[in-house]
């Protein structure tokens, strides 16, 4: 069996779970059943939702110590259900929660974990996975070594949630894991959002986003002028906000805003996956970068290879002609 570990919070299923189910179904290739385990407390409704997938069964791993996420409780519960079901692979969405507990889970089970996987295939019957390396500049074909189960986390957006095959209602089994109180070392407080954002970039029709290519804070004036010329909001990649050059509410990406404007102009942004997930839904993407190999060009509709300090002012001048 291939076991998917679903992710839910307060009874709401993370959509990336369906992507992991789609990936698991592809990995199984019909030769192996796929099962889903969901961890939490009072998760009947989520389990029922998951039973719509074309899977052999759903395991509701239910325990009051799983009510809010902590890594220790989740590792204990996941290890318990994996040991009980003895799957060949364990598939997870590569979310922050998976990043937090899956490596410990793999270490405790003494098994391989492949993270951020974007594709699955088989060669001579054995599974082969693809994952990015070197900031997405290269892709690697990798195999897991050592005894099963092999754990695999799938990059968000690499598989389509709507590609997950639906079935006729999989049976739901309640699994009560052993979670010793002594094993729980972290205490979690409720998640919160930093002050409400003053700008709502998700409503912007056009966005000009700058990255580290802008080099120094003083050059942000040019970026702002470019945004104004496009009639766009100014946004940025994470390092710009880390430096305090723009407020965090203007950061695009997995830890910032997700936007889908009509036009997204990426200026001096390399195109790391954590940035791309926040903007690849934009209708038209323009990349301006001096490096012709920058991953941003892989998602761009229009590209200019050049120095932003030359192309930027030229665009401002051109747009100014009206």
């Amino acid at each position: 069996m291939i076991l998917v570990i679903a992710e839910q919070r307060d009874g709401r299923l993370n959509r990336a779970t369906w992507e992991a189910i789609a990936a698991a179904q592809q990995l199984a290739g019909g030769a192996e059943p796929v099962g889903v385990a969901v961890l939490g407390s009072g998760i009947d409704l989520v389990a029922a939702e998951l039973s719509a997938a074309d899977v052999s069964g759903v395991w509701a791993v239910n325990h009051e110590r799983l009510a809010s996420y902590t890594p220790d409780a989740f590792v204990a519960a996941a290890a318990d259900v994996i040991t009980a079901l003895a799957p060949s692979h364990v598939c997870l969405p590569h979310t922050y929660q998976t990043r937090d507990f899956a490596p410990v889970l793999a270490a405790r089970l003494d098994r391989a974990l492949l993270t951020d996987v974007t594709g699955v295939g088989r060669r001579d019957g054995a599974p082969i996975f693809t994952r990015p390396m070197f900031q997405g500049k290269l892709v690697a074909e990798v195999v897991a070594e050592g005894a099963a189960p092999h754990l695999v986390s799938f990059q968000i957006g690499a598989f389509r949630a709507d590609a997950a095959a639906r079935g006729t209602g999989a049976p739901v089994t309640v699994h009560v894991p052993a979670i010793g109180a002594a094993a729980l070392r972290q205490q979690a407080e409720a998640p919160f959002q930093e002050s409400k954002a003053a700008v709502d970039l998700s409503q912007a029709e056009r966005i000009v986003a700058v990255g580290r290519g802008i080099k120094a804070q003083e050059h942000l004036a040019m970026a702002q002028a470019l945004a104004d010329a496009f009639g766009a909001e100014l946004a940025a990649s994470r390092p710009i906000c880390d430096n305090g050059w723009l407020p965090m509410e203007r950061q695009i990406g997995s830890s910032g805003q997700t936007v889908a404007p009509k036009l997204y102009v990426a200026v001096g942004i390399s195109g790391a996956i954590q940035h791309l997930v926040g903007m690849k839904g934009a209708r038209t993407i323009v990349a301006i970068n001096k490096d012709a190999e920058a991953p941003m060009f892989e998602v761009a509709d229009y590209g200019i290879v050049g120095d932003l300090f030359e192309v930027g002012p030229a665009l401002i001048a051109e747009l100014g002609k009206g």
């Binding site: 937090d100 391989a112 290269l138 074909e141 959002q193 390092p239 323009v286 998602v299």
Partner: protein, 253 residues
């Protein structure tokens, strides 16, 4: 407070990958290296914790002898001493192998807190920290944006997706993976660079072979998912053509 910071030496951001002949790895002899970015933030956080609570900051890196470049840099920025788990095979090893090597090298040190970056810019496993925590029997938390220590216990701010955060508490000793942007970095001073020359780097080697949990079969340049219209010419010509196509083709202006 005895603080360890794990730092990885990775190719510089400007580096353009070139594959070796059998396409199983990059030509590492041609690479110039730097400190993994979030690790620099982890080091800065360690230095701040020491300034507040006293103690020492120990840099730990696993890799071939070349990694002493980033070890020296960390010492120049203010770390007190270093441990280098040295093995040529660690240059390409995965996070599992690196964490195992570091776990062995630091086992007797009894650190109160271990900081790592959240992810390496080269292999990007996002695994080393939590695996090391498990190997050292420590609680952990990941993607940390704030560290508070009071009376033997730790309260941290963990970043969640989409602008959400959460505080967590746990006892010490503990391991944290640090996110870029947690603080503002300081850079090495000339005085620091001079002082670093006298600081100790303890080299640790083990007889046990380095074993990774995953094997790279091949590397390649990613395929484009979209047809990108590349616009060439002088900046002025390219700007003119782009604006024309955004108006007439894409109709977004």
């Amino acid at each position: 407070m005895k603080i360890a910071v794990c730092i990885k030496q990775v190719p510089t951001r400007e580096w353009q990958p070139r594959l070796n002949d059998d396409r199983t790895w990059v030509r590492d002899a041609e690479i110039s290296y730097e400190m993994n970015e979030p690790d620099a933030y982890a080091l800065e956080e360690a230095l701040r914790l020491k300034e507040k609570h006293g103690g020492e900051v120990v840099v730990v890196s696993a890799g071939p002898s070349r990694v002493q470049q980033v070890i020296r840099e960390a010492l120049a920025r203010g770390a007190d001493r270093a441990i280098h788990a040295q093995d040529d095979a660690l240059g390409r090893a995965d996070a599992w192998a690196a964490a195992s090597a570091v776990a062995e090298a630091v086992r007797l040190e009894q650190f109160d807190i271990v900081l790592t970056g959240l992810q390496s810019d080269d292999q990007g496993h996002a695994q080393f920290g939590p695996v090391l925590a498990e190997r050292l029997g420590m609680p952990h938390s990941t993607i940390i944006m704030e560290v508070q220590i009071a009376a033997g216990s730790l309260r941290v701010k963990r970043e969640l997706e989409g602008g959400w955060f959460q505080y967590l508490s746990m006892p010490l000793p503990a391991l944290l993976t640090i996110q870029s942007g947690i603080n503002q970095l300081r850079y090495a001073t000339l005085k620091g660079i001079m002082a670093a020359k006298k600081k100790e780097i303890r080299v640790v080697t083990t007889a046990a072979p380095v074993t990774s949990r995953q094997r790279v079969l091949s590397l390649s340049v990613p395929q484009k998912s979209k047809q990108t219209a590349m616009i060439t010419g002088s900046p002025a010509d390219a700007a003119k053509e782009l604006v024309r196509r955004l108006r007439e083709e894409a109709r977004v202006l």
